[in-house]
């Protein structure tokens, strides 16, 4: 097995009486596309929150490229090359799609943004346009984000997460809120874009068909623990996974 890009060792996190993570030890190799599944409340988002520095784990270590990044801030995780998209898209709602990307491209990675040069320059404009094309949201360039349909918001959220070219990207339910007919089209395009950028991908997904199609490997969570971890077919056919994840999946028509 190639050297791990991301490795977690015995991560634990509790919220009061709720165990959101317990002894989570997983490893993701560079170039892999890993699908993460689990019922509502299984701890998938909590995992993303810990890996990106938004939450500090109560126990365990997080290693990225072999370096211990446990307890680092969101900004430090971002600087290290771990970015994420959100279950509920985190955009700049009062601005247009183009402005969202312009702002993202212009400020990215500046802990202390420079104040002596203009943000809007040919390079930033070009890069913002390129990202819009790549994620097929250029048609909505001039639309204010709070007036966008959910599907475009999801795409913009991912596009903004990809600004700065991360080594690893965590996608939290990239297809939630997107109709079943469009899911494969959207996900196919996103995965292509991520692959061409060379990013290692970990995506949280409730649609098992999407998982089976795009993941090289699947990790199933249950009540904060890793229930199964392996090849997609193996995991998706594992009886425990079928019982606790696949079978019990409630209908989620518009859950964000």
């Amino acid at each position: 097995m190639p050297e791990a890009l991301l490795e977690t060792r015995g991560l634990g996190k509790t919220f009061g009486a709720v165990v959101a993570a317990e002894d989570v030890s997983v490893s993701v190799a560079a170039g892999e596309i890993v699908g993460v599944i689990g019922a509502n409340g299984a701890g998938k988002t909590t995992f993303c929150n810990m890996v990106t520095g938004y939450l500090t784990p109560d126990q365990g270590r997080i290693l990225f490229r072999g370096a211990d990044i446990t307890g680092c801030t969101v900004g430090e995780a971002t600087a290290a090359g771990i970015h994420r998209s959100f279950q509920i898209p985190q955009l700049f709602p009062g601005l247009t799609v183009y402005e969202n990307l312009l702002l993202s491209v212009g400020v990215f990675g500046h802990r202390r943004p420079p104040w002596w040069r203009p943000l809007v320059r040919p390079e930033t404009q070009q890069e913002a346009r390129r990202v819009m094309e790549q994620y097929r949201i250029a048609d909505s360039a001039e639309t204010r984000v709070d007036r966008l349909p959910q599907g475009v918001r999801k795409l913009l959220d991912i596009a903004m997460a990809m600004v700065g070219g991360p080594a690893m990207i965590l996608l939290d339910e990239p297809t939630s809120g997107i109709s079943t007919e469009e899911k494969f089209d959207v996900m196919g395009n996103v995965i292509d874009a991520l692959r061409s950028s060379g990013a290692t991908v970990l995506f949280v997904e409730h649609d098992m068909d999407v998982v089976g199609r795009y993941a090289d490997r699947v990790i199933a969570f249950r009540e904060g623990r890793v229930l199964a971890d392996g090849a997609p077919r193996e995991v998706l056919e594992n009886p425990a996974v079928i019982e606790h994840v696949v079978g019990r999946r409630p209908p989620r028509p518009t859950d964000a």
Partner: protein
């Protein structure tokens, strides 16, 4: 309002406005020149508030830094014998910058009403200290001598508002407005929009939202301090009530909202309107001054939420 659209270079406008003011000097009656200069001083404070407003923040205590600037200049003049207006300005800015840097560590973690009221609290503390300090004249304050510039001292007959002081205020204000205009168009300015719109996303873009707020806070403080220096040099006297009292801070917020955050010229225009209305109201309807302010604020919020500057945008045919 898509605020990003409003970021445009206004260099030409600033140079023109400054040149016009300097050219008009011989024609301006004394009260008009005084009003213009005082409006530039107050406008600088509102300009600082405008930066904070771009960040989605407001401070109900800018009088704190206005007072720090004014008192720093007055103290340097009275106790160190410094008369050069350039040195006095630098002293005011430096004092406010250092204090804002320190207080910034407290305020930068707060947003909304807490950010606004923390500053009010600081300003009330300073007011209390100044009003109780006998060596600084307590509530009566103390006087400031006539300032000089690079060795140029006005003759004894010249009065307070000399062409040197007027020109110094006009040119420094223009320079500062030009700088702020550039800063608003820089990544720092845009980071402010990020703080206002979605701080979580900004953090995930690798930007320290707190750091950006801290920087904006210091900038706003320095602007308020420079405004304080100008005002004290123009009036020739400094008191706690005219600088650090909470109604003074309220006036600055009033002016910032009246002008709107659309352009660096807006706070200066609004401050001028404010000064003119006050001058005439106090003369003709002194008991109605507060009511007039209240009605103006009401009308602006109801019909011109983008402030006076949105009228300019409307004239130019842009949606505000």
């Amino acid at each position: 309002m898509t605020a990003l659209r409003n970021i445009r270079p206004t260099t030409a406008g600033i140079v023109l406005a400054a040149a016009a003011l300097l050219g008009l000097w011989p024609l301006l009656p004394a009260w008009a020149a005084h009003t213009a200069a005082v409006s530039l001083g107050g406008g600088l404070v509102a300009l600082g508030l405008m930066i904070l407003i771009r960040f989605g923040l407001v401070s109900f205590g800018q009088g704190l830094f206005f007072a720090i600037g004014g008192y720093a200049a007055a103290l340097a003049n009275q106790f160190l014998g410094i008369t050069d207006m350039l040195v006095l300005s630098v002293a005011g800015i430096a004092a406010a910058g250092m204090i804002a840097w320190a207080l910034g560590y407290i305020v930068r973690g707060h947003r909304g009403i807490f950010f606004a009221m923390l500053n009010l609290a600081f300003s009330m503390i300073l007011f209390g200290i100044l009003a109780k300090t006998v060596a600084l004249g307590s509530t009566d304050g103390f006087s400031v001598g006539v300032p000089t510039l690079l060795g140029v001292a006005p003759g004894p007959e010249a009065g307070r508002l000399t062409f040197v002081l007027f020109g110094f205020i006009v040119i420094s204000s223009a320079l500062v407005a030009w700088m702020v205009d550039r800063i608003l168009a820089s990544p720092v300015g845009y980071a402010g929009q990020g703080v206002r719109e979605n701080e979580l996303r900004l953090r995930y873009l690798g930007v320290s939202a707190r750091g950006a707020v801290h920087l904006a806070y210091i900038m706003a403080a320095k602007l308020a301090a420079l405004g304080g220096v100008f005002t004290v040099l123009l009036i020739g006297h400094v008191t706690p009530e005219d600088t650090a009292y909470w109604t003074k801070s309220g006036e600055f917020v009033f002016v910032a909202i009246l002008g709107g955050a659309g352009n660096v010229a807006a706070p200066f225009i609004a401050q001028t309107v404010f000064e003119l209305v006050r001058t005439f109201a106090l003369q003709y309807v002194p008991e109605a001054w507060q009511m007039l302010l209240g009605i103006t604020l009401l009308l602006v919020i109801l019909f011109l939420p983008g402030g006076l500057w949105s009228l300019v945008d409307r004239l130019r045919g842009r949606d505000a």
